[in-house]
Symmetry: C2
Subunit: 241 residues, 2 copies
């Protein structure tokens, strides 16, 4: 873990940028920790959604809540072609979406993302010790997160959602969802205009975890209620401590 | 409200049995309050499920949590033909179910139950003042609760579930569900062997409330996880205070 910035300390939360190397790729990330650090604290991996980046508003808010309210560390990385890994600044939403398709949804991309995350977790544990580990990712963060969780026994709790048996990676989801065993909270938006409701319920149905709960609310894809978003940190606190 | 027992005080919770008269019917109930009573405290009506009664285990547990953890009063009544209103002691589960059908599902029964509850609420408010009011009822408690909530503007928060657009009262549910406006948490059991999942999702879909959330867990009809049951009191605390 190579630090790429000075630490930024704000209201008891320490944020520091880093890069790690994985299979020749430079992966940029952010690590959030309490200013007073204990050993072997829990770590939650935060996987951002498609066209977004490691410091998206809801990622940052969740990271700060984990650290401040619960003393849990958080780490986020940019997905391939996202954030600091973009090869061009997209001119509009359409171009951003096109870049997203050519990077995240390319053949073999999923294996690379899983490898990036596992290398990130190795590096984070080298810094913070081997406390319990969680994963949070919505939408594309779920599409990429399910194969990661299925492959990574260190992850013992997850908050997922806004994704279904849908899109170009759906065969992979159908294969990996039943392999999940950790407790999972799964968010769904009842009026999701991006991912059809039936496919979301179908994906929840296929999760292998015995302890799983579906939480659905009215509204569109990005309209998860603030109280639900705020409760994500509490879920990890009760499962990782 | 006519007291029919001495108060039973256990660990800061006061329980007292009562009867009220409604349209010539004697309705037996239980009132739970904090031992140190404040004025205009919130009140939650607890509607038990089919073949059960006002002191069913989960009703009692919820009542005690409301009072003890949040200082909220709780009140439960026996449904027609249930608990102390039974006309015979059923010999087996089958007979209990038959009695249930001839009393709760008889023509006009729904209006009577709504009237019983409204009279109970009048009497309770005469005792405790006019604080905010909630309703909790699962399964048959939802089938009977939705028409009550649709008719009763004093109810401003509800926890419902384990019921669908299903059974002999389904036309009434289809009519009244869209009239609901209060915030509602709706529980569903993913492997419900009594009420088919699709009908449950359909009923959630029809609830008129803008603020509604579906919480689904794996398991059969009566296997709602303990943590979810335990959180019901917290929901009312955050909505009625």
């Amino acid at each position: 873990m190579q630090w790429s910035s000075e630490p930024l300390i704000e209201k008891e939360v320490r944020e520091q940028a880093f890069t790690i190397e994985c299979e020749g790729r430079n992966v940029p990330g952010l690590l959030w920790t309490p200013t007073e650090r204990a050993s072997d604290i829990p770590i939650v991996l935060l996987g951002h959604g498609g066209t977004l980046h490691k410091r998206a508003h809801y990622i940052l808010a969740t990271a700060r809540r984990l650290v401040k309210q619960h003393g849990i560390a958080a780490v986020a990385i940019d997905g391939p072609g996202h954030g600091d890994r973009r090869e061009r600044i997209p001119e509009d939403q359409e171009q951003a979406r096109a870049d997203f398709v050519t990077t995240w949804l390319a053949p073999g991309a999923n294996e690379k993302i899983v490898a990036d995350w596992r290398a990130t977790l190795d590096a984070t544990q080298a810094e913070l010790g081997t406390g319990p580990v969680g994963y949070f990712g919505l939408s594309m963060g779920t599409m990429m997160g399910i194969p990661l969780i299925a492959a990574e026994p260190r992850i013992t709790a997850a908050v997922l959602g806004l994704m279904g048996v849908w899109g170009p990676n759906q065969d992979r989801l159908v294969e990996d969802a039943p392999k999940m065993t950790c407790p999972v909270r799964f968010l769904a938006q009842w009026d999701d205009e991006v991912v059809p409701r039936e496919t979301v319920l179908d994906l929840f149905d296929r999760l292998g975890s015995k302890e799983k709960s579906l939480r659905a609310h009215p509204g569109r894809h990005v309209q998860v209620p603030a109280t639900e978003m705020g409760g994500i940190a509490d879920f990890f606190a009760s499962h990782l401590k």
